[in-house]
């Protein structure tokens, strides 16, 4: 398989605070290496502020990387700009979380869905309406509603319009940033099914950003887990749910409620104490060690606080934990 997206040691740095003497910087995405193959669906999970959205935006070059490289379809786009970047961006699109905020209320559906075509393929204006209708049909919206405005649609329908806009210029790669999180349960299942179906029909590659493990499992081939800007585990979807290798992944899985009372009440939770630390005061060594149950179980080995673990190869994936091999034994002893 060929890599469509390849990140090497990517760092995205943000500055916060007042005057330049007091300004501080932190890495919202910290030394992330990742490849997403053509046709693959890669899921990114983590809690708020972990950098998953920033990572998605950095691939689309909405954020400029501080260091490291971003490659798309074999081309290094890290420092690319102007017309060349615009050409590359024809191949990538994004679907946003909020179906209310992400569509301009003063534009008709035809203008919204047609906008990427007007931007990227101005020569094809003659077939604009045809292309818009084609995209609407693909997402299950009545193509006769071209002239309607967003407020005339329900939340689920608006999300379909957002997806149609992403599809309109026939991209290869779509970043879905919490694309189903704002929707009701019954409607969310419709959109997940649609995304799976579109991928099949158009051979799309997805980056699915979500905090909902169930949605990711339904759609994704591989999943990456982020914590404080670092990628702490990457594994095939079946593997990560059956045998998580990072203590954070293990806690995250145990914290997600399952809609089955007998299973749910028989489960062992592996609680995390406290809150996620501020990225401005990120812990030394392993970024997770201040909340890590495995670190505590092992008698707080000093290595966790001094040495940042690399994302190393495991038989079925990658993990950034010094003591991952000890996890299974400690887990059952809990």
């Amino acid at each position: 398989m060929t890599a469509l997206v390849q990140l090497d040691d990517l760092v995205v740095r943000f500055r916060v605070g007042g005057g330049f003497a007091r300004a501080r910087a932190f890495n919202a995405v910290d030394r992330v290496s990742l490849r997403i193959d053509e046709g693959e669906c890669f899921g990114l999970v983590g809690e708020s502020g972990c950098g998953k959205t920033t990572l998605g935006r950095a691939i689309l070059r909405i954020h400029a990387p501080h260091s490291g490289t971003v490659k798309f379809a074999g081309q290094d786009i890290t420092r690319m700009g102007g017309n060349r970047l615009r050409t590359v961006r024809k191949g990538m699109q994004m679907v946003f979380q909020d179906p209310y905020g992400s569509l301009d209320p003063r534009m008709t559906v035809e203008q919204i869905v047609g906008e990427p075509i007007r931007t990227h393929e101005p020569a094809r204006r003659g077939v604009l309406r045809e292309r818009v209708q084609e995209a609407l049909v693909a997402v299950g919206i009545d193509p006769d509603r071209l002239g309607d405005y967003p407020h005339q649609f329900s939340g689920g329908q608006r999300q379909r319009i957002g997806i149609a806009r992403a599809l309109a210029i026939r991209p290869r790669f779509i970043v879905c940033d919490e694309a189903t999180s704002a929707l009701d349960v019954s409607v969310r299942a419709q959109i997940l099914t649609l995304l799976a179906d579109l991928r099949q029909r158009h051979g799309l590659t997805y980056l699915m950003i979500s905090h909902d493990l169930g949605s990711l499992r339904y759609l994704c081939d591989r999943i990456g887990v982020m914590y404080l800007g670092r990628l702490v585990e990457v594994a095939p979807v079946a593997e990560i749910f059956a045998r998580p290798r990072h203590p954070y992944t293990r806690s995250l899985l145990s914290a997600m409620p399952i809609p089955d009372p007998r299973i749910e009440r028989a489960r062992r939770r592996i609680p995390l104490s406290g809150d996620v630390p501020s990225p401005l005061a990120a812990p030394t060594g392993c970024c997770f060690h201040t909340r890590c149950w495995l670190h505590q179980r092992l008698g707080e080995p000093p290595r966790c606080a001094t040495e940042s673990p690399a994302l190393r190869d495991m038989p079925t994936g990658k993990v950034a934990c010094h003591f991952s091999e000890d996890m299974a034994a400690q887990d059952t002893a809990l």
């Binding site: 809690e47 708020s48 329900s154 939340g155 689920g156 329908q157 009701d184 349960v185 019954s186 409607v187 969310r188 299942a189 419709q190 997940l192 099914t193 905090h211 909902d212 493990l213 169930g214 949605s215 990711l216 499992r217 339904y218 979807v237 749910f241 806690s251 995250l252 899985l253 145990s254 914290a255 997600m256 409620p257 399952i258 809609p259 089955d260 009372p261 007998r262 299973i263 749910e264 009440r265 939770r269 609680p271 995390l272 406290g274 809150d275 996620v276």
Partner: protein, 333 residues
């Protein structure tokens, strides 16, 4: 059997809107025992939050009309209470936890001051005694270093800590009932697990009851003793937690459960979904309100309004013609 804490019969909430009236909550009947966690589960617009607000008489009286055949809390009729009686009821009787901890706390007052307020007002404590009690409460809800944090302002707290502070306020006067509206929806899952654990602990220790409004079936499965499923302003199924999940008698409940993509178990089961969307209050009809989306629909579903009636045991109710005795789904879904 002892008198239940809360008894509601045929509660409705209607609103005056331009061009007429809409009914947001229609004929809700429920009882809540002592020391129980009862869930109100539904999608947006199903009327679950409005039901909760109506129980505490918190619906804006200028536009909303709350009516019920019976609404008693701890033996007292709530609907006929004066504002003064209501205030006395809410402090020591009911505590509230809302969805967004950032918007629900006053940014200009310290956390300690906000917790003290109800203690001074309702329990007659002195300012000093109330602050001491506030420190104890912050410790109880798991805030580290409560002596120092009691002087903090809400912006100095994280989201999870704000929600803990809200819970401390809610339990300050040791209320018999805690009304919690999506208490963990704004929080991350690891924090959500901590908060649910805390709420469960409070019920075990104090025998308070919780009415929990949530859209998350996983949370209902995790902590509720009894669950009411709401759809389009009505309760459509009501059962103890196990029958609700394993022996539901309403196609909507079944559809909702199979719409949740699961991350446990072997393999990836196919995801089914309910076509269409939940109706808004202007679209409520007199027939079965779910019939437009129901795969088991027959003509009779559109002809009459189904009653919420028992299925097997008196505490399992469903609003569906098909699962009534003699119906085409009587044997189960």
């Amino acid at each position: 059997m002892t008198e239940p804490l809360l008894r509601v019969r045929n509660l409705s909430v209607r609103f005056r809107v331009p061009g007429g009236m809409i009914t947001a909550v229609d004929g809700v009947t429920l009882t809540l025992g002592r020391g129980q966690i009862v869930g109100l589960v539904g999608e947006s617009g199903s009327g679950k939050s409005m039901t909760m607000l109506a129980l505490a008489r918190l619906v804006q009286t200028e536009t909303g009309i709350v009516a019920a055949d019976e609404l008693t809390f701890d033996g007292q009729p709530v609907l006929s209470m004066s504002q003064r009686q209501l205030s006395a009821l809410r402090g020591p009787g009911m505590g509230f936890i809302f969805q967004n901890p950032f918007n629900s706390l006053n940014p200009l007052l310290t956390v300690g001051r906000q917790i003290s307020e109800s203690l001074i007002l309702h329990m007659g404590l002195s300012r000093k005694a109330a602050l001491d009690r506030a420190i104890e409460l912050l410790a109880r809800v798991g805030i580290p270093d409560p002596h120092r944090r009691v002087q903090d302002f809400p912006h100095q707290f994280s989201g999870g800590m704000c929600q803990r502070a809200m819970i401390a306020m809610a339990i300050a006067c040791e209320p018999k009932l805690i009304l919690a509206d999506e208490p963990t929806t704004a929080l991350d899952v690891t924090i959500q697990a901590q908060i649910l654990e805390l709420l469960g602990g409070i019920v075990r220790e104090t025998s308070s009851s919780i009415l929990l409004v949530t859209h998350d079936l996983g949370i209902a499965a995790s902590v509720c003793d009894h669950v009411h499923v709401m759809y389009a302003g009505q309760i459509v199924e009501s059962a103890p937690v196990e029958p609700l999940f394993y022996d539901h008698r309403m196609p909507y409940t079944a559809g909702l459960l199979s719409s949740v993509p699961r991350f446990d178990g072997e393999g990836v089961p196919p995801l089914s979904f309910i076509p269409g969307r939940p109706p808004g209050p202007r679209e409520f009809t007199d027939c079965c309100r779910f019939s437009a989306r129901c795969a088991h629909r027959r003509d009779v579903c559109l002809a009459r309004r189904p009653a919420l009636s028992p299925r097997g045991t008196p505490d399992h109710l469903a609003r569906c013609v098909a699962t009534e005795p003699g119906g085409w789904l009587e044997a189960g879904l």
